[in-house]
Symmetry: C3
Subunit: 168 residues, 3 copies
Protein backbone atom coordinates (compact mmCIF):
# COMPACT_ATOMS: atom_id res chain seq x y z
CA UNK A 1 0.00 0.00 0.00
CA UNK A 2 1.03 3.60 -0.21
CA UNK A 3 3.36 5.29 2.24
CA UNK A 4 3.82 9.04 2.50
CA UNK A 5 6.63 10.79 4.40
CA UNK A 6 5.81 14.32 5.60
CA UNK A 7 8.95 16.33 6.42
CA UNK A 8 9.09 19.75 8.02
CA UNK A 9 10.58 21.96 10.69
CA UNK A 10 9.30 22.70 14.17
CA UNK A 11 5.90 24.44 14.04
CA UNK A 12 5.81 24.06 10.27
CA UNK A 13 2.32 22.59 10.38
CA UNK A 14 3.56 19.14 9.35
CA UNK A 15 1.49 17.22 11.93
CA UNK A 16 -1.64 19.18 11.08
CA UNK A 17 -1.04 18.60 7.36
CA UNK A 18 -0.53 14.86 7.95
CA UNK A 19 -3.73 14.65 10.01
CA UNK A 20 -5.82 16.47 7.43
CA UNK A 21 -4.45 14.15 4.75
CA UNK A 22 -5.28 11.13 6.92
CA UNK A 23 -8.80 12.30 7.68
CA UNK A 24 -9.69 12.18 3.99
CA UNK A 25 -9.30 8.38 4.30
CA UNK A 26 -12.54 6.43 4.47
CA UNK A 27 -11.75 3.93 7.24
CA UNK A 28 -10.21 3.61 10.68
CA UNK A 29 -7.56 6.08 11.78
CA UNK A 30 -4.76 4.96 14.10
CA UNK A 31 -2.28 7.43 15.51
CA UNK A 32 1.07 5.90 16.49
CA UNK A 33 2.78 8.31 18.88
CA UNK A 34 6.51 7.99 19.39
CA UNK A 35 6.65 10.77 21.97
CA UNK A 36 7.26 10.06 25.63
CA UNK A 37 6.61 12.60 28.37
CA UNK A 38 10.09 13.10 29.83
CA UNK A 39 9.17 16.48 31.32
CA UNK A 40 6.22 18.83 31.81
CA UNK A 41 6.79 20.78 28.58
CA UNK A 42 6.63 17.51 26.62
CA UNK A 43 3.62 16.18 28.57
CA UNK A 44 1.75 19.37 27.77
CA UNK A 45 2.52 19.10 24.04
CA UNK A 46 1.38 15.46 23.94
CA UNK A 47 -1.91 16.20 25.74
CA UNK A 48 -2.52 19.19 23.49
CA UNK A 49 -1.97 17.13 20.33
CA UNK A 50 -4.22 14.29 21.55
CA UNK A 51 -7.07 16.70 22.31
CA UNK A 52 -6.57 18.34 18.92
CA UNK A 53 -7.06 15.10 17.02
CA UNK A 54 -10.58 14.44 18.25
CA UNK A 55 -12.64 11.25 18.63
CA UNK A 56 -12.14 9.69 15.20
CA UNK A 57 -8.62 8.64 16.16
CA UNK A 58 -7.30 5.69 18.15
CA UNK A 59 -3.93 6.46 19.71
CA UNK A 60 -1.24 3.92 20.53
CA UNK A 61 2.22 4.64 21.89
CA UNK A 62 5.31 3.13 20.33
CA UNK A 63 8.44 4.91 21.54
CA UNK A 64 10.80 2.16 20.25
CA UNK A 65 9.16 -0.81 18.48
CA UNK A 66 7.68 1.05 15.55
CA UNK A 67 7.97 -1.97 13.24
CA UNK A 68 5.90 -4.11 15.66
CA UNK A 69 3.31 -1.34 16.03
CA UNK A 70 2.91 -1.25 12.24
CA UNK A 71 2.81 -5.04 11.82
CA UNK A 72 0.21 -5.40 14.60
CA UNK A 73 -2.20 -2.85 13.11
CA UNK A 74 -1.69 -2.31 9.37
CA UNK A 75 -4.67 -3.71 7.46
CA UNK A 76 -6.95 -2.79 4.57
CA UNK A 77 -9.42 -0.17 5.82
CA UNK A 78 -7.00 1.16 8.44
CA UNK A 79 -4.72 4.14 8.06
CA UNK A 80 -1.66 4.48 10.30
CA UNK A 81 -0.16 7.88 11.07
CA UNK A 82 3.26 7.76 12.78
CA UNK A 83 4.27 11.04 14.46
CA UNK A 84 7.16 11.42 14.58
CA UNK A 85 10.27 9.59 13.38
CA UNK A 86 12.60 12.19 14.86
CA UNK A 87 11.42 11.60 18.43
CA UNK A 88 11.76 7.89 17.69
CA UNK A 89 15.42 8.43 16.72
CA UNK A 90 15.90 10.32 19.98
CA UNK A 91 14.27 7.45 21.92
CA UNK A 92 16.49 4.88 20.18
CA UNK A 93 19.58 6.93 21.06
CA UNK A 94 18.54 7.15 24.73
CA UNK A 95 17.93 3.40 24.79
CA UNK A 96 21.26 2.75 23.01
CA UNK A 97 19.63 0.74 20.23
CA UNK A 98 21.07 0.06 16.76
CA UNK A 99 19.41 2.78 14.68
CA UNK A 100 20.39 1.37 11.29
CA UNK A 101 18.87 -2.03 12.16
CA UNK A 102 15.73 -0.42 13.60
CA UNK A 103 15.34 1.67 10.44
CA UNK A 104 15.67 -1.42 8.24
CA UNK A 105 12.94 -3.11 10.30
CA UNK A 106 10.71 -0.04 10.05
CA UNK A 107 11.12 0.05 6.27
CA UNK A 108 10.39 -3.66 5.97
CA UNK A 109 7.19 -3.22 8.03
CA UNK A 110 6.18 -0.25 5.85
CA UNK A 111 6.71 -2.39 2.76
CA UNK A 112 4.56 -5.25 4.13
CA UNK A 113 1.71 -3.01 5.34
CA UNK A 114 -1.59 -3.68 3.53
CA UNK A 115 -3.04 -0.29 4.43
CA UNK A 116 -1.77 3.27 4.00
CA UNK A 117 1.00 4.55 6.28
CA UNK A 118 1.78 8.24 6.78
CA UNK A 119 5.01 9.14 8.59
CA UNK A 120 5.95 12.55 10.00
CA UNK A 121 9.57 13.59 10.52
CA UNK A 122 11.47 16.72 11.49
CA UNK A 123 14.09 18.29 9.30
CA UNK A 124 16.76 19.37 11.81
CA UNK A 125 19.87 19.88 9.68
CA UNK A 126 19.34 23.37 8.27
CA UNK A 127 20.82 25.45 11.08
CA UNK A 128 24.33 26.15 12.32
CA UNK A 129 26.41 23.12 13.41
CA UNK A 130 25.42 22.45 17.06
CA UNK A 131 28.03 23.06 19.76
CA UNK A 132 27.72 19.72 21.48
CA UNK A 133 28.65 16.32 20.07
CA UNK A 134 25.41 14.61 21.14
CA UNK A 135 23.30 17.14 19.23
CA UNK A 136 25.55 16.64 16.18
CA UNK A 137 25.12 12.86 16.41
CA UNK A 138 21.35 13.24 16.78
CA UNK A 139 21.26 15.49 13.72
CA UNK A 140 23.23 12.92 11.73
CA UNK A 141 21.08 9.98 12.82
CA UNK A 142 17.83 11.87 12.17
CA UNK A 143 19.06 12.90 8.72
CA UNK A 144 20.07 9.36 7.81
CA UNK A 145 16.69 7.97 8.91
CA UNK A 146 14.90 10.65 6.85
CA UNK A 147 16.94 9.74 3.77
CA UNK A 148 16.32 5.99 4.18
CA UNK A 149 12.58 6.37 4.78
CA UNK A 150 12.26 8.91 1.93
CA UNK A 151 13.95 6.44 -0.44
CA UNK A 152 11.45 3.72 0.59
CA UNK A 153 8.28 5.86 0.70
CA UNK A 154 5.94 6.20 -2.28
CA UNK A 155 5.44 9.91 -1.66
CA UNK A 156 7.48 12.56 0.17
CA UNK A 157 6.36 16.12 0.96
CA UNK A 158 8.19 19.01 2.59
CA UNK A 159 5.97 21.36 4.62
CA UNK A 160 6.74 25.03 5.27
CA UNK A 161 4.24 27.36 6.94
CA UNK A 162 1.59 24.66 6.59
CA UNK A 163 2.00 24.37 2.81
CA UNK A 164 3.45 21.37 0.95
CA UNK A 165 6.22 21.07 -1.60
CA UNK A 166 6.20 17.67 -3.26
CA UNK A 167 9.63 16.00 -3.22
CA UNK A 168 8.49 12.60 -4.57
CA UNK B 1 -5.92 43.13 -3.08
CA UNK B 2 -3.13 40.59 -3.31
CA UNK B 3 -0.89 39.64 -0.45
CA UNK B 4 2.36 37.69 -0.84
CA UNK B 5 4.31 36.05 2.00
CA UNK B 6 8.05 35.61 1.34
CA UNK B 7 9.62 33.02 3.66
CA UNK B 8 13.31 32.22 3.97
CA UNK B 9 16.26 31.69 6.26
CA UNK B 10 18.85 34.18 7.42
CA UNK B 11 20.84 35.55 4.46
CA UNK B 12 18.64 33.65 2.03
CA UNK B 13 18.07 36.75 -0.07
CA UNK B 14 14.39 36.95 0.99
CA UNK B 15 14.44 40.74 1.63
CA UNK B 16 16.20 41.42 -1.66
CA UNK B 17 13.75 39.17 -3.48
CA UNK B 18 10.77 40.95 -1.85
CA UNK B 19 12.18 44.37 -2.77
CA UNK B 20 12.79 43.43 -6.39
CA UNK B 21 9.24 42.09 -6.57
CA UNK B 22 7.92 45.32 -5.03
CA UNK B 23 9.91 47.56 -7.37
CA UNK B 24 8.10 46.11 -10.38
CA UNK B 25 4.97 47.84 -8.98
CA UNK B 26 3.95 51.04 -10.76
CA UNK B 27 3.10 53.26 -7.78
CA UNK B 28 4.29 54.35 -4.34
CA UNK B 29 6.48 52.02 -2.32
CA UNK B 30 6.20 52.00 1.47
CA UNK B 31 8.58 49.96 3.59
CA UNK B 32 7.19 49.01 7.01
CA UNK B 33 10.15 48.08 9.19
CA UNK B 34 9.49 46.02 12.32
CA UNK B 35 13.12 46.07 13.44
CA UNK B 36 14.25 48.11 16.42
CA UNK B 37 17.88 48.91 17.12
CA UNK B 38 18.46 47.16 20.46
CA UNK B 39 22.23 47.04 19.94
CA UNK B 40 24.98 48.18 17.57
CA UNK B 41 24.88 45.03 15.41
CA UNK B 42 21.16 45.56 14.81
CA UNK B 43 21.53 49.34 14.22
CA UNK B 44 24.16 48.62 11.58
CA UNK B 45 21.93 46.10 9.78
CA UNK B 46 18.99 48.52 9.76
CA UNK B 47 21.08 51.42 8.39
CA UNK B 48 22.59 49.13 5.74
CA UNK B 49 19.17 47.92 4.61
CA UNK B 50 17.75 51.46 4.45
CA UNK B 51 20.66 52.69 2.31
CA UNK B 52 20.27 49.64 0.07
CA UNK B 53 16.64 50.42 -0.74
CA UNK B 54 17.30 53.78 -2.31
CA UNK B 55 15.15 56.91 -2.78
CA UNK B 56 12.03 55.34 -4.27
CA UNK B 57 11.02 54.02 -0.86
CA UNK B 58 9.30 55.67 2.11
CA UNK B 59 10.15 53.95 5.37
CA UNK B 60 7.95 53.79 8.44
CA UNK B 61 8.64 51.92 11.65
CA UNK B 62 6.06 49.64 13.22
CA UNK B 63 7.61 47.41 15.84
CA UNK B 64 4.24 46.41 17.37
CA UNK B 65 1.11 47.89 15.74
CA UNK B 66 1.48 46.33 12.32
CA UNK B 67 -2.28 46.25 11.76
CA UNK B 68 -2.53 50.03 12.34
CA UNK B 69 0.44 50.66 10.06
CA UNK B 70 -1.30 48.74 7.28
CA UNK B 71 -4.73 50.36 7.83
CA UNK B 72 -3.18 53.86 7.85
CA UNK B 73 -1.34 53.42 4.55
CA UNK B 74 -2.85 50.71 2.35
CA UNK B 75 -4.49 52.26 -0.70
CA UNK B 76 -4.77 51.73 -4.45
CA UNK B 77 -1.50 52.85 -6.05
CA UNK B 78 0.54 52.09 -2.90
CA UNK B 79 2.48 48.90 -2.22
CA UNK B 80 3.36 47.98 1.36
CA UNK B 81 6.37 45.79 2.12
CA UNK B 82 6.54 44.54 5.72
CA UNK B 83 9.99 43.26 6.77
CA UNK B 84 9.86 41.20 8.84
CA UNK B 85 7.19 39.30 10.74
CA UNK B 86 9.73 37.35 12.78
CA UNK B 87 11.21 40.46 14.38
CA UNK B 88 7.64 41.58 15.02
CA UNK B 89 6.99 38.31 16.91
CA UNK B 90 10.13 38.95 18.93
CA UNK B 91 8.96 42.51 19.69
CA UNK B 92 5.53 41.25 20.78
CA UNK B 93 7.17 38.70 23.09
CA UNK B 94 9.38 41.39 24.68
CA UNK B 95 6.34 43.62 25.16
CA UNK B 96 4.31 40.68 26.57
CA UNK B 97 1.51 41.15 24.07
CA UNK B 98 -1.06 38.52 23.01
CA UNK B 99 0.48 37.16 19.82
CA UNK B 100 -2.60 35.24 18.66
CA UNK B 101 -4.77 38.36 18.93
CA UNK B 102 -2.13 40.53 17.22
CA UNK B 103 -1.88 37.99 14.38
CA UNK B 104 -5.66 37.98 13.92
CA UNK B 105 -5.59 41.78 13.69
CA UNK B 106 -2.74 41.69 11.19
CA UNK B 107 -4.61 39.21 9.01
CA UNK B 108 -7.80 41.30 9.17
CA UNK B 109 -5.83 44.40 8.10
CA UNK B 110 -4.24 42.43 5.23
CA UNK B 111 -7.70 41.33 4.12
CA UNK B 112 -9.06 44.90 4.15
CA UNK B 113 -6.07 46.44 2.33
CA UNK B 114 -7.00 47.95 -1.04
CA UNK B 115 -3.41 47.83 -2.31
CA UNK B 116 -0.82 45.03 -2.53
CA UNK B 117 0.94 43.87 0.66
CA UNK B 118 4.19 41.88 0.66
CA UNK B 119 5.30 40.34 3.95
CA UNK B 120 8.73 38.88 4.72
CA UNK B 121 9.25 36.24 7.42
CA UNK B 122 12.07 34.05 8.68
CA UNK B 123 11.84 30.29 8.77
CA UNK B 124 13.55 29.41 12.08
CA UNK B 125 12.36 25.87 12.81
CA UNK B 126 14.69 23.76 10.69
CA UNK B 127 17.61 23.40 13.07
CA UNK B 128 18.21 21.41 16.25
CA UNK B 129 15.84 22.11 19.20
CA UNK B 130 17.29 25.15 21.00
CA UNK B 131 18.72 24.64 24.51
CA UNK B 132 16.79 27.42 26.20
CA UNK B 133 13.05 27.62 26.76
CA UNK B 134 12.71 31.21 25.52
CA UNK B 135 14.24 30.33 22.15
CA UNK B 136 11.90 27.33 21.91
CA UNK B 137 8.89 29.54 22.67
CA UNK B 138 10.06 32.10 20.08
CA UNK B 139 10.43 29.34 17.50
CA UNK B 140 6.92 28.10 18.24
CA UNK B 141 5.36 31.57 18.08
CA UNK B 142 7.18 32.47 14.86
CA UNK B 143 6.11 29.19 13.25
CA UNK B 144 2.48 29.67 14.24
CA UNK B 145 2.45 33.23 12.84
CA UNK B 146 3.98 31.98 9.58
CA UNK B 147 1.31 29.28 9.26
CA UNK B 148 -1.54 31.71 9.98
CA UNK B 149 -0.28 34.38 7.58
CA UNK B 150 0.49 31.77 4.90
CA UNK B 151 -3.08 30.46 5.15
CA UNK B 152 -4.43 34.00 4.67
CA UNK B 153 -2.01 35.18 1.95
CA UNK B 154 -2.81 34.90 -1.75
CA UNK B 155 0.72 33.82 -2.60
CA UNK B 156 3.54 32.24 -0.57
CA UNK B 157 7.15 31.74 -1.72
CA UNK B 158 10.10 30.07 -0.02
CA UNK B 159 13.49 31.60 -0.87
CA UNK B 160 16.79 29.72 -0.76
CA UNK B 161 20.05 31.22 -2.04
CA UNK B 162 18.05 34.08 -3.55
CA UNK B 163 15.82 31.79 -5.62
CA UNK B 164 12.09 31.19 -5.08
CA UNK B 165 10.08 28.02 -4.66
CA UNK B 166 6.38 28.70 -4.94
CA UNK B 167 4.37 27.23 -2.04
CA UNK B 168 1.03 28.83 -2.94
CA UNK C 1 30.10 24.77 -19.64
CA UNK C 2 27.36 23.96 -17.16
CA UNK C 3 27.60 24.57 -13.46
CA UNK C 4 25.20 23.11 -10.90
CA UNK C 5 24.91 24.21 -7.27
CA UNK C 6 23.57 21.54 -4.88
CA UNK C 7 22.26 23.05 -1.63
CA UNK C 8 21.10 21.16 1.44
CA UNK C 9 21.28 20.73 5.18
CA UNK C 10 23.52 18.47 7.22
CA UNK C 11 22.83 14.79 6.40
CA UNK C 12 20.39 15.79 3.69
CA UNK C 13 22.07 13.50 1.18
CA UNK C 14 23.42 16.46 -0.84
CA UNK C 15 26.93 15.00 -1.29
CA UNK C 16 25.55 11.62 -2.30
CA UNK C 17 23.16 13.29 -4.73
CA UNK C 18 26.00 15.36 -6.24
CA UNK C 19 28.19 12.27 -6.62
CA UNK C 20 25.47 10.24 -8.31
CA UNK C 21 24.86 13.13 -10.70
CA UNK C 22 28.59 13.36 -11.40
CA UNK C 23 28.98 9.63 -12.01
CA UNK C 24 26.55 9.81 -14.92
CA UNK C 25 29.25 11.88 -16.69
CA UNK C 26 31.24 10.02 -19.33
CA UNK C 27 34.77 11.23 -18.56
CA UNK C 28 37.20 11.88 -15.72
CA UNK C 29 35.88 12.70 -12.26
CA UNK C 30 37.81 15.04 -10.00
CA UNK C 31 36.74 15.64 -6.42
CA UNK C 32 37.89 18.98 -4.99
CA UNK C 33 37.70 18.70 -1.20
CA UNK C 34 37.63 21.90 0.82
CA UNK C 35 37.61 20.08 4.17
CA UNK C 36 40.63 20.08 6.44
CA UNK C 37 41.03 17.70 9.36
CA UNK C 38 41.13 20.07 12.34
CA UNK C 39 40.09 17.33 14.77
CA UNK C 40 39.39 13.59 14.96
CA UNK C 41 35.67 13.89 14.23
CA UNK C 42 36.46 15.79 11.03
CA UNK C 43 39.29 13.42 10.03
CA UNK C 44 36.91 10.49 10.38
CA UNK C 45 34.26 12.14 8.20
CA UNK C 46 36.82 12.93 5.47
CA UNK C 47 38.22 9.37 5.43
CA UNK C 48 34.69 7.95 5.35
CA UNK C 49 33.68 10.15 2.41
CA UNK C 50 36.84 9.32 0.45
CA UNK C 51 36.33 5.56 0.89
CA UNK C 52 32.67 5.98 -0.13
CA UNK C 53 33.55 7.56 -3.47
CA UNK C 54 35.50 4.61 -4.80
CA UNK C 55 38.27 4.30 -7.41
CA UNK C 56 36.74 6.28 -10.29
CA UNK C 57 37.51 9.55 -8.49
CA UNK C 58 40.71 11.58 -8.21
CA UNK C 59 40.73 13.71 -5.08
CA UNK C 60 42.53 17.01 -4.65
CA UNK C 61 42.44 19.28 -1.62
CA UNK C 62 41.78 22.99 -1.95
CA UNK C 63 40.91 24.50 1.43
CA UNK C 64 41.41 28.11 0.20
CA UNK C 65 42.40 28.56 -3.46
CA UNK C 66 39.29 27.10 -5.05
CA UNK C 67 39.61 29.33 -8.12
CA UNK C 68 43.12 28.02 -8.81
CA UNK C 69 42.00 24.43 -8.29
CA UNK C 70 39.28 24.93 -10.90
CA UNK C 71 41.54 26.75 -13.39
CA UNK C 72 44.24 24.07 -13.10
CA UNK C 73 41.88 21.17 -13.81
CA UNK C 74 38.73 22.22 -15.68
CA UNK C 75 38.81 20.82 -19.21
CA UNK C 76 36.52 19.13 -21.72
CA UNK C 77 36.10 15.50 -20.65
CA UNK C 78 36.68 16.30 -16.96
CA UNK C 79 33.99 16.90 -14.37
CA UNK C 80 34.85 18.79 -11.19
CA UNK C 81 32.87 18.26 -8.00
CA UNK C 82 33.58 20.80 -5.24
CA UNK C 83 32.42 19.71 -1.77
CA UNK C 84 31.73 21.97 -0.02
CA UNK C 85 31.56 25.73 -0.29
CA UNK C 86 30.48 26.14 3.33
CA UNK C 87 33.66 24.58 4.72
CA UNK C 88 35.55 26.80 2.29
CA UNK C 89 33.85 29.87 3.81
CA UNK C 90 34.86 28.62 7.25
CA UNK C 91 38.47 28.14 6.05
CA UNK C 92 38.54 31.66 4.56
CA UNK C 93 37.28 33.09 7.85
CA UNK C 94 39.95 31.24 9.85
CA UNK C 95 42.61 32.49 7.44
CA UNK C 96 41.17 36.04 7.58
CA UNK C 97 40.80 36.27 3.81
CA UNK C 98 38.52 38.63 1.88
CA UNK C 99 35.48 36.42 1.26
CA UNK C 100 33.80 38.73 -1.27
CA UNK C 101 36.97 38.85 -3.41
CA UNK C 102 37.47 35.07 -3.12
CA UNK C 103 33.86 34.50 -4.18
CA UNK C 104 34.28 36.77 -7.21
CA UNK C 105 37.37 34.77 -8.21
CA UNK C 106 35.53 31.48 -7.72
CA UNK C 107 32.67 32.67 -9.93
CA UNK C 108 35.06 33.89 -12.62
CA UNK C 109 36.80 30.49 -12.61
CA UNK C 110 33.43 28.72 -12.85
CA UNK C 111 32.54 30.93 -15.82
CA UNK C 112 35.81 30.16 -17.64
CA UNK C 113 35.69 26.38 -17.00
CA UNK C 114 35.42 24.35 -20.21
CA UNK C 115 34.05 21.29 -18.42
CA UNK C 116 31.14 20.76 -16.03
CA UNK C 117 31.43 21.97 -12.42
CA UNK C 118 29.19 20.75 -9.60
CA UNK C 119 29.33 22.62 -6.30
CA UNK C 120 27.90 21.47 -2.96
CA UNK C 121 26.94 23.92 -0.21
CA UNK C 122 25.22 23.80 3.15
CA UNK C 123 22.13 25.80 3.94
CA UNK C 124 22.74 26.94 7.54
CA UNK C 125 20.32 29.84 8.00
CA UNK C 126 17.06 28.08 8.81
CA UNK C 127 17.44 27.66 12.55
CA UNK C 128 17.26 30.01 15.52
CA UNK C 129 19.74 32.95 15.54
CA UNK C 130 22.99 31.57 17.04
CA UNK C 131 24.08 32.86 20.47
CA UNK C 132 27.62 33.80 19.51
CA UNK C 133 28.69 36.53 17.12
CA UNK C 134 31.18 34.34 15.21
CA UNK C 135 28.47 31.80 14.36
CA UNK C 136 26.21 34.67 13.21
CA UNK C 137 28.98 36.05 11.01
CA UNK C 138 29.65 32.59 9.56
CA UNK C 139 25.95 32.16 8.82
CA UNK C 140 25.88 35.52 7.05
CA UNK C 141 29.01 34.84 4.99
CA UNK C 142 27.85 31.35 4.01
CA UNK C 143 24.46 32.71 2.98
CA UNK C 144 25.99 35.48 0.86
CA UNK C 145 28.31 32.99 -0.91
CA UNK C 146 25.34 30.69 -1.61
CA UNK C 147 23.36 33.58 -3.12
CA UNK C 148 26.27 34.75 -5.29
CA UNK C 149 27.10 31.25 -6.57
CA UNK C 150 23.41 30.46 -7.13
CA UNK C 151 23.05 33.61 -9.24
CA UNK C 152 26.04 32.54 -11.37
CA UNK C 153 25.25 28.82 -11.66
CA UNK C 154 23.28 27.37 -14.56
CA UNK C 155 21.33 25.04 -12.31
CA UNK C 156 20.52 25.07 -8.58
CA UNK C 157 18.91 22.24 -6.59
CA UNK C 158 17.83 22.04 -2.95
CA UNK C 159 18.10 18.55 -1.43
CA UNK C 160 15.97 17.31 1.47
CA UNK C 161 16.04 13.67 2.64
CA UNK C 162 18.06 12.81 -0.47
CA UNK C 163 15.46 14.19 -2.88
CA UNK C 164 15.88 17.28 -5.09
CA UNK C 165 13.77 20.38 -5.50
CA UNK C 166 14.84 22.38 -8.55
CA UNK C 167 15.39 26.07 -7.76
CA UNK C 168 16.88 27.04 -11.14
Amino acid sequence: MTSHLILGGARSGKSRYAQTLAEAFDGDLIFIATGEAFDDEMAERIAHHRADRGPRWDTVEAPLALDEAIRARAAPGKLLLIDCLTLWVSNLMHAERDIVAATDELIAAMGDARGPVILVANEVGLGIVPDNALARRFRDEAGRVNQAVAAAANEVSFIAAGLPLRLK
